[in-house]
């Protein structure tokens, strides 16, 4: 199973990658290849469209403000399931693309136990065991997987209420909204972490590369795998050089 996923993902990565390029300059590392970036932003665009059109119908307070963006109430209602379908399909490829790095590891429990230190910025550098994604990123990913599934399962009865019956629709309506709130909260945290909170992160998803010092700060184990070098030693060296320069 995993072998098949890997083979499919590798070939998709190669084929899509052939249409684009990622320029890796000196002191940079390749973080996200073309295929991953295209997937991420396809997912993101459909997500935002589905989120906006969904929240227009979610609450009367937002109905008047948001529905004009989509050409009024009826078109908002008509487009929402199609945006969502786009999101689900694009995200399915994203799941295959990230299945391996997002797999939960024993070290992730350690990270979660010390999450307070991460949130309060108590430690400037991540622990050495943090690989391509940290446990918080994995948690967000799997929360989105779970709510996407919930969205799909509850969205279909709301799309075709007469096929599924009213009791199913009544239940689906509540679960659909809960999934929406989980996603909204996760989405806000995701944007904050990817931009203002961690300078140097956003470019990983646009240009595809990160600075080496970003990598040894936030993902030391990945740095070790990607470069074959010791993250802490390289950090000390860079610190020494900076100190020499300033003296």
């Amino acid at each position: 199973m995993n072998g098949a996923v890997e083979r499919f993902d590798d070939s998709a990565r190669r084929r899509v990658g052939a249409y684009g390029r990622t320029v890796v300059r000196e002191n940079e590392l390749l973080r996200h290849p073309v295929y991953t970036r295209v997937l991420h932003w396809t997912v993101a665009i459909f997500f935002i469209l589905a989120l906006l059109s969904g929240f227009a119908i979610y609450s009367p307070w937002l109905f008047r403000a948001i529905t004009p963006l989509f050409g009024g109430g009826p078109t908002t209602r008509m487009l929402h399931p199609w945006f969502s379908l786009g999101f689900v399909i694009a995200f399915a490829f994203q799941i295959l693309n990230w299945l391996a790095p997002m797999t939960w590891q024993p070290d992730d429990r350690r990270w979660m136990n010390n999450i307070r230190e991460y949130v309060t910025n108590e430690r400037p550098m991540e622990p050495e065991y943090v690989d391509f994604f940290n446990a918080g990123q994995k948690l967000y990913f799997w929360a989105i997987v779970a709510s996407a599934l919930l969205f799909l399962l509850t969205g279909l009865p709301m799309w075709f209420p007469r096929t599924f019956g009213r009791i199913t629709v009544d239940i689906a309506y509540v679960l659909h909204d809960i999934a929406g709130l989980v996603m909204l909260v996760g989405f806000i945290v995701h944007i904050y972490e990817g931009t203002a909170s961690q300078p140097g992160t956003f470019r990983a998803m646009t240009r595809g590369t990160v600075e080496r010092r970003w990598a040894w700060t936030h993902h030391p184990a990945w740095y070790r795998r990607a470069t074959g070098r010791d993250p802490r030693a390289d950090y000390e060296q860079a610190r020494q050089r900076a100190a020499d320069r300033s003296s």
């Binding site: 109905f63 209602r77 309506y173 909204l184 945290v189 700060t217 936030h218």
Partner: protein
């Protein structure tokens, strides 16, 4: 829109008070249906289709005296037929005129997310405004009586208007006007309720229907269509009239309480992120 008798009382998904509410003397209207004198002639069905100018649709014979299995988007008024076997083995033909009940607390209006798609007038009529309907069909699952019907071509939901256009001009609904037996009457809620109570008492005292009574379910605040039934203890015998009609809690508790609270909690995330940045600062690459 005539405002004299059609002053709007509630608007679906509308923030704030309803303009003009409370400035006029309120007079609830009501349709009275005495099922005990209905002969199942279907004049009301025809009158409804004609007045509302709806395309005729084919009837479906199912070995009963019922025109079709259920009301449709273009067939708002249907005499439900049931051959009911009494305990002594004798049969009763129960005819009930099925249409929108115009609930005092309408589940369709509560469920509707589109502003102005459903309104309730102060006289009690619950009316769909198709130009504002977005076709989500939440009203269908919010209704305790399975009345709103979706037209998949226009993507809108339709139901009985209690002839709000006629009532607004001081006329009775079309079905009332067509009824030849007088089992349908139209007037103020107080008058119709008094008439129904008197008729039920007559049935109990003089016609041997000990359980005769009025169907005006308090679980949804009463309705603006009331029935006189031979046996008010078994409304389900009359074409599946629910004994205790309720709006699904998903549309009462979830929508009025959990939704705003949930939205607030979700919106807290953005200020939390902002103040986190102010207080903790960014996590820069080292050194």
């Amino acid at each position: 829109m005539p405002t004299g008798t059609l002053q709007i009382k509630a608007i679906s998904a509308h923030p704030g008070p309803v303009p003009g509410h409370g400035v006029q003397r309120e007079e609830d209207v009501c349709k009275y249906i005495d099922v005990t004198t209905c002969i199942g002639c279907k004049a009301c069905e025809v009158a409804c289709v004609e007045w509302n100018d709806m395309p005729f649709q084919e009837t479906r014979f199912d070995n009963t005296y019922q025109t079709m299995p259920a009301t449709a988007w273009n067939y708002w008024n249907l005499i439900k037929f049931n051959e009911h076997a009494r305990d002594d083995g004798s049969l009763m033909w129960l005819m009930r005129k099925d249409q929108c009940m115009h609930c005092e607390d309408p589940g369709c209006l509560r469920a509707c997310p589109a502003e102005g798609a459903i309104v309730q007038y102060t006289n009690g009529i619950v009316d769909f405004q198709q130009e504002n309907c977005i076709g989500c069909q939440y009203c269908v699952s919010g209704c305790p009586f399975d009345i709103p019907k979706f037209n998949s071509e226009t993507k809108k939901v339709y139901k009985c208007t209690l002839c709000s256009d006629r009532v607004g001009q001081g006329l009775e609904p079309a079905c009332i006007k067509a009824c030849p037996t007088g089992c349908l009457k139209f007037g103020t809620k107080a008058d119709m309720r008094a008439l129904a109570d008197a008729r039920a008492q007559q049935l109990r005292e003089h016609s041997g229907f000990a359980n005769a009574g009025v169907y005006d379910p308090p679980s949804i605040g009463g309705t603006h269509v009331i029935y006189v039934l031979h046996d008010a203890t078994h409304p389900e015998h009359y074409g599946g009239l629910p004994r205790n009609p309720v709006i699904p809690p998903t549309y009462t508790i979830w929508k009025s309480a959990a939704k705003p609270i949930g939205l607030l909690l979700a919106l807290v995330a953005a200020p939390v992120a902002f103040f986190h940045y102010l207080m903790e600062g960014p996590k820069e690459p080292q050194p």
